[in-house]
């Protein structure tokens, strides 16, 4: 953070991020919580409000920019990532946020999504995953689970779903994290981490669509199931979960394995220590994606799974422009127009 930015911390409040537009999500939609957490976190980032841009595509989540008193563009389906890429290259000084959904980012915009991650532009990519198409009223999405009954799959979804984190890591994403609408504190922490990271920060946010796919992720937030089904990872900490924190994950013979810490055979010292800079381990963590109905399934991972900075694309672009000026001098238009082989006619 630059001194300039630090000085401007809290130059605006959460309230000042609220627009005069009526929020149009369905009552009870998980998007409300996400909006609230974003509006809470953004004023704490030391940014100037005029330097913030929210870009979205199409879908319920993509209405987001209209509710943020910053610069914003509500674009077309799937292309927010591509538009934001152009914007960030053009204006590296801006803090650019992309708000997208599972259909927007992974189906119609799948191509831009993976290419953004490999290029690694320094922007924040918030994917609201509700495993359904909400705005078009309830068709299955590329993250809907197999067998899911939706408007367009009355006998169950046949498609195998995407695993967004694994997909992102496959595209060499430099920051990959997961959080959820129903855990405001965790979501705020995750947003802080995403914002602080230089490079494309990909944050998947489980979001409840109470109208078309209600409760899809409740097992990760409900008191009764949360401890068994979700594991919250932190850098340098052992992978522990379960009621009374009595379970752990051990990495043995190239496989993750659930062990019971109460049985005396294994202690915390035997467990997998989370290292968010280890991309191999991150790949394995991203694969904790079993159907919770399966016996012996692994818990779903929340938190920053992978974070390792590498050069951002826009930085490389501008370095190349500067290098070109050093090598060839500032462009001279008349010289350029003249070319190499001009001739005179008298």
């Amino acid at each position: 953070m630059s001194i300039q930015e630090l000085e401007n911390i809290s130059s605006f409040t959460s309230k000042e991020l609220v627009t005069d537009q009526e929020v149009r999500w369905c009552p009870g939609c998980g998007d409300y919580s996400i909006l609230k957490q974003v509006q809470t976190v953004v004023p704490q980032l030391g940014l100037k409000r005029e330097n913030i841009v929210f870009v979205s595509g199409i879908g319920c989540s993509s209405r987001f920019p209209y509710y943020m008193e910053t610069y914003g563009m509500h674009s077309i389906h799937g292309r927010a990532t591509a538009i934001a890429s152009g914007l960030k290259i053009a204006r590296p000084d801006l803090s650019v946020w992309v708000v997208t959904g599972d259909g927007d980012a992974l189906s119609i915009g799948g191509n831009h999504f993976i290419h953004l991650l490999r290029r690694n532009l320094d922007l924040n990519l918030l994917l609201f995953n509700n495993q359904i198409y909400g705005l078009t009223k309830g068709q299955y999405s590329p993250t809907s689970v197999e067998g899911q009954i939706t408007k367009s799959s009355p006998m169950g979804v046949l498609d195998h779903p995407f695993n967004p984190l694994a997909l992102a890591l496959g595209a060499d994403a430099s920051f990959v994290a997961r959080s959820m609408d129903r855990d405001p504190k965790h979501l705020q922490t995750s947003l802080h981490r995403a914002a602080a990271f230089k490079g494309t920060s990909f944050l998947e946010i489980y979001q409840n669509c109470n109208v078309f796919n209600d409760g899809a992720f409740f097992i990760y937030s409900d008191k009764e199931t949360k401890m068994e089904e979700a594991i919250f990872v932190e850098h340098g900490q052992a992978l522990v979960f379960g009621e009374n924190k009595n379970k752990g994950i051990r990495f043995a013979n190239g496989q993750p394995e659930i062990v019971n810490l109460d049985e005396g055979k294994f202690s915390v010292d035997d467990l997998w220590i989370h290292d968010e800079t280890d991309r191999y381990k991150a790949s394995v963590l991203s694969r904790f994606y079993d159907d919770p109905a399966h016996a012996g399934h692994l818990p779903r991972v929340f938190g920053v799974i992978y974070a390792k900075e590498r050069a951002s694309y826009e930085q490389a672009v501008h370095e190349q422009l500067a290098a070109s000026k050093t090598l060839f001098g500032d462009g001279d238009l008349d010289k350029l127009l003249r070319g190499k082989q001009a001739w005179e006619i008298k």
Binding site: R49, E50, M73, A82, G86, V317, D334, E344
Partner: protein
């Protein structure tokens, strides 16, 4: 043989053809420079094979280059050639139909051996150099490969390198035939092979050998002079349409002081613009090779939103993919230039071949009521002025603008009297400032008298606002589904485009009287051909008028009056009648179409003949 004097001719069309590996394009470009230095006017056109590396010696591998030059104004690369120079049998087979009756053929004898005949699908006993089939032409058979080998026998170079320099023999020979100096070619070779002294000396050797062959062997009877053309005084360079397009963009960027962002995806025949622009990073030019055509235009929209000059480019199939994003740019009312270097379609069509069949696509190829300005360049050098103007309209009117070119002018070249940068017009930008805040509010869709909204750049305090593809309320830009508001906004967007007519020049006649029997109306790359046809007709005392549209949407405000002056409007187009349809519809004027959809430009005589048939002469 008697040594003849050089005879003086007004103009000539030469076609060079050989295998893609024979260096035909290099002969072409070097001969073009030598000819330009001899102060002739010139038009050139390369004819690349569609395949990248077709097997050597086959018909698919033939590469060609046509040059038309003369002592008077030249507007086209020429229809039929006077001279055909071929390096092998396939090149002859492919290009013979393009040669005038009694034309000259210079054939490399070594390219007609059994192997080359077989590769060209010619039976052994049908070797055209031996079977009298070329009797209607003046045929010179020269063992070029052998002569080159002989010239380089002490060079120490391998067979491959020796063979590769045979194009320099041809260059030397034609320079002798047309009395061109070798100096510019020598300079270029020295530049090119500065680090390879053996190759340099071999090439210089062969170049001179070709020249000397003409001089001393006295086999070729034809030798000419072509007097300088009466060209306007000034400094010239040769330029292709694609290069002119790239330079026009750089110039617009420099003059508007807006960094250029060029978002694109490789596609024939537009990629050369990308190649050219990617060399000009020291002008701050950002070239972004996106993952696909949609990302290409989307990134340009993003850059434009951020305050840069956003430009995207493609050709037919890629343009189709950009449609949705173009609609977004229209809704956002952001400046954007979209370049379409048209090629023969539909679908993949014929990627290296020319066509003008995307005019209606440019007009109507978006859902909803989505008009946008359209400009078309009419010659290689004109691409510079036209793209510059497209950028002006985009920036001054906050709108995406179509710039149409096509494979014919994109790859063709002509001499260009390039401008001095001081003489290029500046731009009036519409950037919003804090002064645009009224009572603590900024209204992103408040407009000036031309219905143009302001460009609110992120980073400007107090102008925070949201824009998007959803229909918006007039002035505030807030989402609105109000029926009356939607209709109003549709009209505003359309009227904004119409109002551009007041900022563009009135339509002029290129030649001919303001009233008469026939107006030939063209647009885009047919300019030079129509112009040449008019000159041909005038030689026969047939006077027609010629108007050529650069502004296709909106049309110049006086355009209807111009049409009124003529009994018949003849519209030659490389499509099935797209401008015809627009003219018939807008001006209720009966028109006669002359349509060609062969992937090839018109030839002059096709237009001449049509005019004659209309006049029954």
């Amino acid at each position: 043989m008697i040594k003849k004097e050089r005879s003086s001719i007004d103009d000539v069309v030469i076609r060079l053809a050989g295998d893609s590996g024979d260096g035909i394009q290099l002969i072409g470009s070097e001969f073009t420079i030598a000819t330009a230095l001899a102060q002739n006017d010139i038009g050139t056109f390369p004819d690349f094979p569609a395949e990248i590396r077709a097997p050597a010696g086959t018909l698919a591998g033939v590469s060609g280059f046509q040059i038309h030059f003369g002592s008077h104004d030249i507007y086209t690369p020429g229809d039929y050639s006077d001279v055909l120079i071929v390096m092998n049998a396939a090149a002859l087979k492919k290009n013979l139909s393009n040669l005038k009756k009694n034309g000259i053929i210079i054939a490399n004898e070594d390219g007609f051996d059994a192997k080359n005949l077989r590769l060209a699908n010619i039976a052994d006993h049908e070797n055209p150099l031996k079977n009298q089939s070329l009797d209607g032409y003046k045929l010179y058979i020269i063992p070029i490969t052998k002569l080159v080998k002989e010239a380089l026998k002490n060079s120490g170079l391998g067979t491959k390198e020796i063979d590769r320099s045979k194009n320099m023999f041809v260059l030397g020979l034609i320079c002798w035939m047309y009395d061109r100096s070798l100096n510019s070619s020598i300079e270029e070779l020295k530049r090119k092979f500065a680090n390879k002294p053996e190759i340099l000396s071999a090439n210089l050797n062969v170049l001179q050998a070709g020249f000397n062959y003409g001089e001393t062997a006295e086999i070729i009877e034809e030798k000419y002079t072509v007097a300088p053309a009466p060209m306007e005084a000034g400094t010239y360079r040769g330029i292709t349409g694609n290069t002119a397009t790239a330079l026009g963009l750089v110039a617009a960027s420099v003059k508007s002081k807006l960094q250029l962002f060029y978002g694109t995806y490789p596609i024939t025949p537009a990629s050369d613009i990308l190649h050219e622009l990617s060399k000009h990073k020291n002008f701050g030019v950002i070239t972004y090779q996106a993952e696909d055509e949609i990302a290409a235009i989307s990134s340009a929209i993003g850059a434009s939103y951020g305050g840069l000059m956003g430009v995207t480019a493609s050709s037919g199939p890629g343009i189709d993919l950009k449609s949705e994003a173009l609609g977004l740019a229209i809704m956002l009312e952001l400046p954007l230039v979209i370049i379409n270097v048209q090629r023969a379609g539909p679908s993949t069509g014929m990627p290296t071949k020319t066509e003008q069949a995307d005019l209606l696509l440019s007009f109507f190829g978006r859902h909803g009521e989505a008009p946008m300005p359209i400009l078309a360049a009419n010659s290689p050098a004109d691409c510079f002025d036209t793209i510059y103007e497209a950028a002006r309209i985009a920036l001054e009117y906050m709108t995406p603008v179509y710039f149409l070119s096509d494979a014919y002018i994109a790859n063709g070249s002509e001499p260009w009297k390039f401008p001095n940068s001081n003489n290029l017009k500046g731009f009036n930008l519409n950037i919003a400032t804090e002064k645009d805040i009224t009572e603590n509010k900024f209204y992103p869709y408040l407009r000036n008298e031309n219905l143009v909204r302001k460009w609110a750049l992120p980073g400007t305090p107090g102008l925070e606002n949201r824009i998007g593809g959803i229909e918006k309320e007039d002035i505030t830009g807030n989402i609105s589904y109000d029926p009356n508001n939607h209709e109003k906004m549709v009209h505003i967007r359309a009227n904004k485009v119409e109002k551009i007519a007041s900022s563009i020049p009135l339509q002029q006649l290129d030649s001919g009287p303001a009233q008469g029997k026939i107006l030939i109306l063209g647009w885009g790359s047919t300019y030079g051909i129509i112009k040449t046809a008019c000159l041909e007709l005038a030689k026969e005392n047939i006077i027609v008028s010629h108007a050529h549209l650069k502004y296709l949407n909106p049309f110049p405000s006086n355009f209807g009056e111009i049409l009124e002056g003529f009994e018949t409007v003849l519209i030659p187009e490389m499509n099935m009648g797209q401008l015809s349809l627009l003219i018939k519809n807008k001006y209720l004027k009966p028109v006669v179409g002359l349509n060609k959809i062969k992937g090839l430009p018109f030839s002059t005589h096709e237009i001449v003949d049509k005019v004659k048939s209309l006049l029954s002469v």
